[in-house]
């Protein structure tokens, strides 16, 4: 490059290089922009293959000109360091940003510009883009499934109650704080179960009885994921401890359990919970399909959680166990006070990973006849009035799952940060 350019950009010719370089970069982006969005070719006068790569060429020259070390301008220095370190770096930056610009119109037109938002049946969808009318019309079904429309307030109220009880920990003072673990591990799940059982299920207090196979949509996703998460964590925790136990019986039962559940696909587990499990129950005893499905998922994910936690337990130096023991702490005290707080902190990313997987596994409950949000979109797309709209439904469901998972992931990151600052 040095041979081609007679100007070697440095701080002494900053006044020339910076404006010229910036102008060239601007030109290159303008060219791409006009090209993609307005189908114009401003560089028509240059013919041949050069025309195709002109923006890239301009951009590269521009980037070269502004690549000035220690320019004394704070933002330029940061810019050069992060995305314009050398020619290769500049090339990557250009190609990636050009690609994003090139792809944008395809998405924009399908999602927004050519999409239809107004109307209440399929005939309203005349554009070549997405038919969001479909989502709009089916929205209530996607969220609440087949739950009777007049009773939907019950789901809303129960969810609000569960969230309020869940936030309880934020407002506790020192005195209550020591009981928080007990609250979240025991009281809260029971409370949530009671709320769901009486309010959503009904059958008491003059509330209409709604069978679980009428439940569905996003609310069912939440119910399944919530209870499965709450149950799988403590089970996994005890399995992890059990697998490292000195008691042979405990250890082998834990190993057997973990290896069994890790070795079978979730879909078979769900099938078995629906078909085979009832055969083992004494006659007259009936456990609801939903409860069975939740426990199947919880036990399945517990095996994974157990292995994640075991990783954390093994990562702790042996000295921590010895120090706890040497102070006279027994097995439970040393685990509760010393080992687990540290081990769990190490494996937060792994736990978050498993939890995300759990949430994304919930759609599999369709095999036992329960339709959460993906199940509902599957059902809706087969409706004769709305045929051919599978894409919109799946994208909608995908976005919802992405949102849930993103929030969970962000929370786990913040938790990690908060706990690591305590060190």
């Amino acid at each position: 490059m040095r041979k081609i350019f007679f100007i070697k950009p440095n701080i002494s010719n900053l006044n020339i290089c910076l404006p010229v370089g910036s102008f060239l970069i601007l030109l290159s982006f303008l060219d791409i922009f006009l090209n993609t969005f307005y189908n114009l070719n401003p560089s028509f006068f240059i013919i041949g293959p050069v025309n195709k790569v002109l923006p890239l060429l301009l951009g590269m020259i521009g980037f070269y000109l502004i690549r000035i070390e220690y320019s004394g301008k704070k933002y330029l220095d940061i810019f050069n360091k992060k995305i314009n370190l050398n020619n290769f770096n500049a090339l990557c930056t250009l190609i990636i940003s050009f690609s994003i610009i090139k792809i944008m119109p395809i998405f924009l037109s399908w999602f927004i510009i050519d999409a239809n938002f107004v109307g209440d049946n399929k005939d309203a969808c005349t554009g070549s883009g997405a038919c969001w009318v479909y989502i709009k019309v089916w929205f209530e079904r996607f969220i609440y499934g087949m739950y009777p429309a007049s009773e939907i307030w019950r789901i809303n109220i129960s969810f609000i109650l569960i969230i309020v009880f869940g936030l309880f920990g934020l407002f506790s003072n020192e005195k209550i704080k020591r009981y928080l673990i007990l609250y979240y591990a025991v009281v809260y799940p029971i409370l949530a179960f009671i709320i769901i059982y009486f309010l959503v299920s009904g059958g008491v207090f003059n509330l209409e009885w709604v069978q679980t196979n009428a439940w569905g949509g996003l609310s069912l996703t939440f119910i399944v994921a919530f209870f499965a998460l709450i149950f799988c964590f403590p089970i996994g925790l005890f399995l992890a401890l059990g697998r490292r136990s000195k008691l042979i019986a405990v250890r082998y039962v834990s190993i057997g359990f973990i290896e069994f559940w890790r070795g079978v696909p979730l879909i078979t587990v769900l099938f078995m919970s629906a078909v085979i499990f009832p055969l083992f129950l004494p006659s007259g005893v009936y456990i609801d399909t939903l409860v069975r499905a939740i426990f199947a998922i919880a036990l399945f994910e517990a095996a994974y959680i157990a292995e994640v936690i075991r990783g954390g337990l093994q990562a702790l130096p042996k000295g921590q166990y010895e120090a706890a023991r040497s102070l006279g702490m027994g097995y439970w005290k040393s685990n509760y006070l010393i080992i687990l707080p540290q081990a769990l902190k190490i494996v937060i990313p792994g736990i978050a990973n498993t939890f995300l997987a759990l949430v994304k596994d919930t759609p599999l409950i369709f095999v036992v006849g329960l339709l959460e949000i993906v199940g509902m979109t599957n059902l809706a797309k087969t409706n004769p009035k709305w045929l051919g709209l599978a894409m919109e439904g799946y994208i909608f469901a995908g976005l919802i799952f992405f949102l849930i998972c993103y929030v969970m992931s962000k929370y786990s990151q913040s938790l990690e940060k908060k706990l690591s600052s305590e060190r």
Partner: protein
């Protein structure tokens, strides 16, 4: 004086390798004993057997009248009475120094929090790091961490203190501040068993010296005699190398 620790014919194997061979040892109350010897001679294993961080396979160990056996309750009782300081400090990194110290008194001795923290502060003052009480172990220097670890052990008000090479992981400059604390402790009348290579410290505080090699106690003598007139050749060789 009453015997507070008694070991009789203690044998221990790691798989087929015998680490302790027929160890006999008596320690009276308020006695200070320094154990030295080449690495791999079983010194650490010996004191770790005294609070059963390691199990011995043959022989008897009696600590303060309680025989160490499989009985878990016995072991926990003994451990609460025997303080241990490790080479690697082994402070709990997720707790502040104060919490490190008050944790065991609260949960093992069931003291009220306020009283436990008072005891913790007193002991931190004793090792001169009471101004660091609210920091986390990671924020302290090595010497401060080891002193915090000593304070943590002292908070259980032990009758015996075991030190497993307490200065081996420290910078030379920090060794002194830890040894000073230990000398103080010795003068206060604590029963101490110390595994160390700090011979200056040994000369200053030890009542008895024990020299171990290949799992056996080669020599046990009064400190002065040990340094001036060692009996076995192995001890002479060791001392000539270390002094």
């Amino acid at each position: 004086m009453a015997k507070i620790i008694e070991l009789k014919k203690v044998n221990k194997w790691f798989d087929k390798f015998q680490v302790l061979k027929d160890i006999d040892l008596d320690v009276s109350s308020q006695e200070k004993i320094v154990i030295c010897g080449p690495s791999g001679s079983g010194k650490s294993t010996l004191i770790r057997c005294i609070n059963r961080l390691e199990e011995h396979q043959e022989g008897n160990i009696v600590v303060d009248g309680t025989e160490l056996s499989e009985n878990t309750k016995n072991i926990e009782k003994i451990r609460a009475e025997v303080g241990m300081v490790f080479q690697q400090f082994n402070l709990f990194p997720h707790l502040s120094v104060l919490d490190n110290c008050s944790l065991a008194p609260i949960w093992v001795k069931k003291l009220p929090k306020k009283q436990a923290e008072e005891i913790a502060m007193n002991n931190l003052k004793r090792v001169q790091i009471d101004d660091q009480a609210l920091k986390f172990p990671g924020q302290l220097s090595g010497g401060q961490q080891q002193r915090a670890a000593i304070a943590r052990a002292l908070c259980m008000e032990p009758k015996i203190m075991l030190f497993d090479e307490p200065t081996s992981a420290l910078d030379p400059e920090m060794i002194k501040e830890v040894l000073d604390v230990m000398v103080d402790l010795a003068k206060g009348g604590m029963t101490m068993i110390v595994v160390t290579h700090e011979m200056g410290f040994a000369k200053e505080v030890a009542d008895y010296m024990i020299f171990m090699d290949e799992g056996k106690i080669v020599e046990r003598a009064k400190t002065k005699e040990f340094f001036e007139n060692p009996k076995s050749d192995r001890t002479k060789l060791f001392l000539s190398q270390i002094l």
